[in-house]
């Protein structure tokens, strides 16, 4: 029996009566979802609603010569057939660049292709009909004449003179390039006792949210307002973009998110077909719905991680790292994705590589090149899984080369726990990390010595098990340094409004969004604790730009750390307001009173003085009985943004124990461990489940997931039977441990936890596979995903 109603409270300095900080309380909104009573955007139905389906380019690169829609227009149920030029009348194009990514460039992107299709799957014509089925019938009748153009599909040759330039106006196929040279890298390599050097390859993969992208746009000409029901992570960002490109004022646009069936970074970008749907609603003056089907998801949801990294690490005999060097090449799509750009993942790889270690010598180059494939952009843990696998892969190769235990070499190089504040060679700033304590915790938790003994014993029987590790750092709680400074209207601050209603219950309106991670539970816990009411008196509202404070939403592991702090501060502010009212009613000093369990009590004795429902009754219905000049303020709003540090870095270490079947090449994951440090833990169960879910997404990329393209730019496995995601039977139990180093930037001290699992898992599994195969003399595997075929090849079996 592993279910606990309430974990043993990990009480912090913030503890007070009604403290829910550090407790595993269940999320308030789950019964709705277990009963099938959720409302996802794909469930939304509005009066007069029409459905759009898109004709999509079968070519990776083609000129659109002619579109004949005559037959489609006559198809039963079809309301309108709309092509690219018509969209330009209501919607302006966009360009995915940010000013702080120096030199990044991209071409204007339109809701649907106007003259040229630049990837297989790009929409070239929209068919609107009474039902989705009729819209698809219409699509089949649209005749498009294409002139196929040469597709650019190999990042290695994308910059060659002989390769066509996808957007001639840009001059070349280079989207973004960054170089960094810190310390004295050449000297450090020259002074090394050993050097390990290899090339890591990461398969292009995607989020595969169970609910595909979905949007319902409702332009009301009577109100001159656009209401967009949108499965998004960032409602205010989308409000701005819809308004900007439809030439509306922001206040004319309302974005509502409702339940979202999985996001993982997939649903935080601007998608051309979603912009087209919004434009169609404006054109047709009625609600239009678009829900991607699965093939559309595979060829249009952002892809990520398509990187080739040449990497090198120098090491002394005593295990000291001397220098890291990387050269990253990544092939994105034909456009940098708006508004966060497709340069961020490569930029993060440059920032994060070598991050856990004290090593001042670091050289990096990253190049981002355009391709005639689906677009790439930020997916859960952006850049981290790559930087981590490169770093940790090198670390374990170096350990093997000098004959040192992989945990020991980390002990000798990880930044000391008492060295903070400090920074990395790439310029990252670390407030307080706990690499060594995390490593020690992991060592004990997994019984490392015992596992090594078991591994040795089984090897004698021809059973090849491997143990691999990955230390990691994770970017969380981003300040304006992430996007704001680059000119994007993506806010890093977040707000919470807390209100005492007329019966003494509390409502919270928060700018962060619920994507399933439990943000609403965290907001409720913060406010219930700060204010002093039982959790069942708290209701949380998110995902509605008309009704919540301006906020960034959910991305970069920010909801709990930033939104939670805003909620905590709002709860405290409302508490002061309510105590002022209580003091006025009770003729007592507010500072002598407290709120506990939803009742105003004497602070010193705990004696009950006034229930909140009675206080609310007086304040709302008999304010005439309050002293003259006293006004009760039963609503409070607070905002929070990290200021002291650009990012609140977290850290941790993962371990994988697995068995490789050397006859079939199959990998059986036996157990996985993660010790992480996200600062103050508001809800241990939610943190653990973020880690577990994140680990499994990382394992998917390491073992199964890859968007396979041929040389013509055709995606070969755009369905769930051929694109493999982790199934229950393939996944191990995952044990999670914690170290707690709160950030001093906020009162709560909470950092993010959403991406740590995904950051470390792929590198960890890679190291475990190579550990298993090392005695067989296999060449180390560095090309993800590690399919049975690649493993057999490394073993020389095929």
């Amino acid at each position: 029996m592993k279910i606990v109603d309430d974990s043993p409270p990990v009480l912090s300095a913030l503890d007070r009566p009604n403290s829910y900080i550090g407790r595993s309380v269940p999320r308030p909104n789950l019964a709705r979802l277990t009963q099938g009573r959720g409302q996802y955007i794909s469930d939304v139905v509005l009066p007069r609603m029409a459905h759009v389906a898109f004709v999509r380019s079968p070519h990776a690169h083609a000129r659109i010569k002619k579109i004949d829609a005559a037959k489609a227009k006559k198809s039963p149920g079809v309301i309108a057939v709309v092509t690219g030029p018509e969209f330009t009348k209501v919607m302006t194009p966009w360009v995915g660049v940010l000013t702080h990514l120096k030199g990044i460039k991209s071409a204007p992107q339109y809701p649907i292709a106007t003259e040229r299709a630049c990837w297989q799957g790009e929409a070239v014509c929209a068919v609107v009909a009474r039902t989705r089925a009729e819209a698809e019938d219409g699509c089949e009748l649209v005749e498009v004449t294409y002139e196929a153009l040469k597709a650019v599909t190999d990042p290695e040759t994308a910059l060659d003179k002989a390769t066509p330039v996808i957007h001639p106006d840009l001059g070349d196929n280079l989207c973004f390039e960054r170089s960094l040279d810190a310390g004295a890298v050449d000297k450090a390599f020259a002074e090394s006792d050993a050097i390990v050097e290899t090339t890591f390859v990461f398969g292009r993969h995607t989020g595969v949210t169970n609910e595909p992208r979905a949007v319902v746009a409702d332009w009301n000409p009577g109100e001159q307002r656009m209401t967009v029901y949108h499965g998004t992570q960032a409602p205010h960002m989308m409000q701005n973009l819809f308004a900007k490109h439809l030439a509306l004022q922001e206040h004319q646009v309302r974005v509502l998110t409702k339940d979202v069936g999985g996001s993982f970074g997939i649903k935080v970008h601007t998608y051309a077909d979603e912009m087209a749907t919004v434009a169609l609603s404006k054109l047709l003056k009625r609600p239009v719905k678009f829900v991607a089907d699965r093939i559309e998801s595979f060829v249009t949801d952002i892809h990520a991680r398509d990187h080739r990294v040449k990497a090198k690490l120098g090491v002394k005999k005593d295990g000291t790292f001397t220098a890291f060097e990387i050269d990253d090449l990544t092939g994105i799509g034909p456009y940098s994705v708006y508004p966060r750009t497709s340069g961020i993942e490569a930029n993060q790889i440059v920032n994060l590589t070598g991050g856990p270690y004290k090593c001042p010598n670091y050289r990096a180059r990253a190049r981002v090149v355009f391709q005639n494939k689906n677009v790439m952009c930020q997916y859960r843990a952006v850049g981290h899984p790559i930087a981590c696998a490169v770093t940790e892969g090198l670390v374990e190769l170096a350990a093997a080369k000098i004959g040192m235990d992989p945990l020991e070499i980390r002990r000798r190089n990880l930044i000391a726990d008492d060295a903070y504040p400090t920074g990395s060679a790439s310029g990252l700033k670390f407030e307080q990390l706990s690499h060594h304590e995390a490593l020690a915790h992991l060592d004990a938790m997994m019984n490392y010595a015992g596992l090594r003994a078991e591994q040795a014993k089984l090897r004698e029987k021809g059973i090849y098990r491997g143990i691999g590790f990955a230390s990691f750092i994770e970017v969380t709680n981003p300040s304006a340094a992430f996007y704001g400074v680059g000119g994007a209207r993506i806010t890093s601050q977040d707000g919470a409004t807390v209100k005492l209603d007329a019966t003494g219950a509390i409502s919270i309106h928060s700018g962060v969004t619920e994507q399933g991670q439990g943000a609403e539970a965290v907001m409720a816990q913060c406010v219930a604790s700060a204010f002093g009411v039982p959790l069942d008196k708290v209701r949380v509202v998110t995902g509605d730009t008309d009704n919540v404070p301006y906020g960034g939403g959910t991305w970069a592991s920010r909801a709990a750390g930033i939104g939670g702090e805003a909620a905590w501060q709002a709860g405290k502010a409302l508490r002061q307001n309510v105590l002022a009212v209580a003091g006025s009613i009770l003729q007592a000093k507010p500072e002598d009173l407290d709120i506990r369990g939803g009742i105003v009590v004497d602070k010193s004795t705990g004696t009950e003085r006034l229930p909140l429902d009675e206080l609310a009754r007086v304040a709302y219905f008999r304010p005439d009985t309050l002293p003259p000049g006293f006004q009760a303020e039963l609503m409070a709003t607070r905002h929070y943004v990290p200021r002291a540090w650009p990012f609140a870095f977290t850290n941790g270490i993962q371990a994988s124990y697995l068995e490789v079947d050397t006859d079939t090449g199959f990998v059986k994951l036996l157990k996985h461990w993660c010790v992480e440090d996200c600062g103050t833990i508001i809800n241990p169960q939610l943190v653990d489940e973020q880690v577990r879910g994140g680990v499994v997404q990382g394992l998917g990329g390491a073992l199964f997931e890859q968007c396979l393209y041929d040389e013509r730019g055709q995606m070969l496995n755009g369905n769930m039977a051929d694109y493999l995601v982790p199934m229950a039977v393939e996944m191990p139990d995952i044990e999670v441990g914690h170290v707690v180093s709160p950030t001093a930037d906020s009162e709560l001290g909470a950092k993010g936890a959403g991406e740590a699992g995904t950051a470390g898992a792929p590198g960890c599994v890679m190291n475990a596979i190579n550990d298993a195969l090392r005695p067989l003399g296999a060449k180390p595997l560095t090309d993800m995903p590690f399919t049975p075929g690649k493993i057999l090849l490394a073993l020389g079996r095929v």
């Binding site: 279910i3 979802l33 959720g38 169970n210």
Partner: protein, 162 residues
């Protein structure tokens, strides 16, 4: 496009239903669009992800691989039905307590598949549970919490034996 329609009569969650459908309409689209039973979800529409799982004549099926027209005379049960009649109340509570769902999109289907295994009786091993739910994809939880929740309900139903 189809010029033809079919009239079907069936029972959905105990209620008699008479509807006119196109032959091409899948069972899950029929439930969602004609009957507004939106607890059954559409994930992949080709029988892989399992989000559309419903019960037809007591057997768990993929709602996207069966046509509404095939359900003439059938007894169809969805998450709405088994929620209202209390059949899986213990499973639902266990999922909520253990946070065995995050976005919840796979959950109605996962619960029906879980019930299929637990209804057979006994306390399945964690490996057996993992095997049984492998046709239902969850992208959020990593499955561990789902296994925990199912295991705890199996144990409780078996009389609290551990």
């Amino acid at each position: 496009m189809s010029a033809h329609t079919m009239d079907i009569s069936l029972t959905v969650n105990g209620e008699a239903v008479n509807e006119r459908v196109e032959p091409r309409m899948t069972l899950v689209d029929f439930l969602r669009e004609n009957l507004s039973l939106t607890g059954s979800h559409v994930g992949c529409e080709h029988g892989v992800c399992g989000a559309c799982t419903v019960r037809v004549d007591g057997v768990v099926v993929r709602g996207c691989l069966m046509l509404a027209a095939q359900c003439e005379g059938a007894k169809v049960e969805t998450i709405e039905g088994v929620s209202d009649n209390g059949e899986i109340a213990d499973l639902q509570i266990a999922f909520e307590q253990r946070n065995a769902l995050q976005c919840g999109f796979c959950t109605p289907a996962m619960l029906l598949t879980a019930q299929e295994l637990l209804k057979a009786g006994g306390v399945p091993s964690r490996d057996e549970i993992r095997e049984h739910i492998s046709g239902n994809y969850c992208r959020c939880t990593g499955y561990h919490a789902i296994i925990d929740a199912m295991e705890s309900v199996a144990q409780a139903r078996a009389g609290g034996k551990k």
